[in-house]
């Protein structure tokens, strides 16, 4: 996949690229408004990660350019501004998702993948990982064509693991992905074990034991 990162903070730009390139994506970067406008009108991307507050202009104007030129790229807005109006404005202009800084790269990655999956940008609604097949439209999971019955959270968890396969995911990141801001109420994240263990058991029963422990308390979805 070809991804453009339009972000004026070079350090953040690099970190996002490093994370996304591990999946074999091609990342290009734009560090200011002019470069971003220039690149989106000249090249085709699958996904554009767009910062609203670019140094010399607004990301929303870049978004308008993308939509005016009928580019098929999916757009994920990243913004330091947590205001609802900004979010709505971005989504109204045709952005596919909106994520507020600071965010986990795993979360950004899963949003990007979701945007790609929604089909209209040439993605696939089916995710296949060895014998595991996920139909994201009907939210069903198969292992070698046997249906695995998962709860809503287990399904979200599996999707999160697969989109971030090979990455270490801490309990905090998982909790935040599943429960959003409310997860900060928790004293400990022990309840995550319950969900992960249930998912693990269900997968292992079908011979798919990919969820591994990393560093003692983190998790990793990886092939043996």
């Amino acid at each position: 996949m070809k991804i453009l990162i339009a972000e004026d903070e070079i350090a953040l730009q690099h970190s996002i690229c490093t994370y996304l390139e591990k999946d074999g994506n091609v990342c290009e970067t734009a560090s200011d408004f002019e470069e971003a406008t220039y690149k989106v009108s000249l090249y085709d991307y699958d996904v554009i990660v767009l910062d609203i507050n670019l140094l010399t202009g607004s990301g929303l104007d870049v978004l308008k350019t993308i939509k005016n030129e009928r580019k098929r790229a999916g757009v994920v807005i990243i913004s330091a501004n947590n205001s609802l109006t900004d979010k709505l404005e971005g989504l109204d202009l045709g952005a596919d998702d909106y994520i507020t800084k600071p965010f986990h790269l795993a979360e950004l990655n899963s949003r990007i993948k979701a945007v790609l999956r929604r089909g209209k940008f040439g993605g696939d609604e089916m995710i296949i990982f060895n014998e595991i097949k996920i139909d994201t439209k009907s939210r069903t999971v198969y292992s070698n064509d046997t249906l695995i019955a998962l709860t809503r959270k287990e399904y979200d968890l599996l999707l999160f693991f697969i989109t971030n396969k090979g990455r270490v995911l801490s309990k905090e990141i998982i909790a935040e992905h599943l429960w959003g801001d409310d997860s900060d109420l928790l004293d400990n994240f022990d309840f995550i074990y319950v969900h992960i263990n249930n998912l693990r058991k269900k997968l292992t029963k079908e011979g798919a034991s990919y969820i591994k422990t990393a560093y003692g308390s983190g998790y990793k979805f990886i092939e043996d």
């Binding site: 501004n81 600071p102 790269l105």
Partner: protein, 393 residues
């Protein structure tokens, strides 16, 4: 006033006396001429008395009190007694005249004074009132404007002009002052927004870098623990930032979007959302629907903050009870002891426990939202239960 009354009294009395004496002399002269012409005297007591006497005496002018049969009371008289030798006979002629009593003069003066004062007072009162009304009218209108002046509103203060120099100057100063306050307030607001805004990007960089380091797979377990701990702190900072921004935004009245919101449904959703990850049970009983007009986003925050507060502070495994009845939403959770300083319950960063997962802003936000819409929130502690009650009025 008093002095003038006294002076006037003596002056009037003197005048009257002089007049009376003059009259007495002229009456006496007339009697004398009558006596000369007609001879036999006549009397008209007590006004005129004529008597033949043996020897003449001195002329006497005096005040006397006599009984006046016509008035049937004792009266003050001025009396002139003269002795005249007419055609060889000596007559004593006594003429008297009623004089106005001093009391009467005094009363007359005082009454007329009082009437004058009263009239002057009344006319001055109305006159002053009319004038004052005209003069102070702009002042009071401006005062009303100042009372209504709100920092949060974008509107400038509108003052009426006045012809009076002092008021014009006052207006000028008020306008300068409010402009300065408004601009300072705006700067402060901007500063708060900017600070929380500017903090997000560095936090995002730290977060992203940590995640990449973790994924390099070169860490040991201990280092990993350190990094996840840093991530927790970043999360705390982020939450703090978000809530402070929210508080500022409510203060700035940036939530003007008012819709009909079903509070009972929101609570139900919140309960569902919370029930999964948390090892506490929530009993929710709604007797009727509560529908309010408010910003839907704030309504959501109101419900979730109250419930999360209960979850955070519940001490035992006893269920959290939520009840909706009439226009009142009650949330109770068990706790070992009452809040030590209930008056500070809604203050920013007030915490009774040293739990680190609390930003200390949740209830401050709840209170702000309630204040914004005029809802009444109350806290009570009864038999081991913390009770929060919101009346949507």
């Amino acid at each position: 006033m008093l002095v003038s009354t006294v002076i006037l009294y003596f002056y009037v009395r003197g005048l009257l006396q002089e007049e009376v004496e003059e009259e007495l002399y002229s009456t006496e002269a007339r009697i004398e001429s009558v006596l000369k012409e007609k001879g036999p005297p006549y009397t008209l007591p007590p006004i005129v008395e004529i008597e033949s006497v043996a020897a003449p005496g001195p002329e006497i002018l005096k005040d006397t009190v006599l009984f006046d049969p016509s008035q049937d009371e004792m009266e003050d008289f001025r009396e002139l007694t003269t002795y005249k030798n007419i055609q060889g006979k000596i007559y004593r002629i006594t003429v008297r005249n009623l004089i106005v009593e001093s009391e009467d003069i005094l009363i007359a003066i005082v009454i007329s004074y009082l009437i004058i004062i009263f009239l002057v007072f009344i006319s001055l009162f109305y006159f002053n009132r009319a004038i004052n009304k005209k003069i102070w009218d702009p002042f009071f209108k401006n005062l009303e404007q100042m009372k209504r002046f709100s920092l949060a509103s974008e509107k400038e203060i509108q003052l009426l002009d006045s012809d009076i120099l002092e008021f014009t100057e006052l207006n000028k100063e008020i306008i300068t002052l409010t402009e300065k306050v408004r601009s300072d307030y705006k700067n402060l607001k901007q500063f708060t927004e900017d600070v929380s805004h500017e903090m997000q990007t560095p936090l995002a960089i730290i977060q992203a870098k940590i995640e990449n380091v973790i994924n390099e797979n070169t860490l040991n377990e201990n280092q990993y623990e350190q990094f996840t701990s840093i991530q927790k702190d970043i999360k705390r900072l982020t939450q703090l930032n978000k809530r402070l921004t929210l508080l500022t935004k409510i203060d700035n009245r940036q939530f003007g979007n008012v819709e009909k919101v079903r509070i009972t449904n929101l609570v139900k959703d919140s309960v569902q959302n919370f029930s999964e990850p948390f090892p506490v049970s929530i009993e929710y009983a709604s007797h009727n629907e509560i529908i309010v007009s408010m910003d839907p986003y704030l309504a959501e925050i109101l419900c979730s903050n109250l419930i999360s507060n209960a979850i955070k502070h519940t001490k035992t495994r006893e269920a959290i009870k939520i009840r909706a009845e009439g226009r009142t939403l009650t949330i109770t959770n068990q706790g070992e002891e009452a809040i030590k300083h209930p008056d500070q319950l809604y203050s920013r960063f007030y915490r009774e426990s040293s739990k680190t997962n609390s930003t200390g802003l949740g209830l401050a936000i709840v209170k702000k939202i309630c204040d914004l819409y005029g809802y009444k929130i109350s806290y009570d502690y009864k038999e081991g239960w913390h009770i929060f009650e919101i009346k949507f009025i």
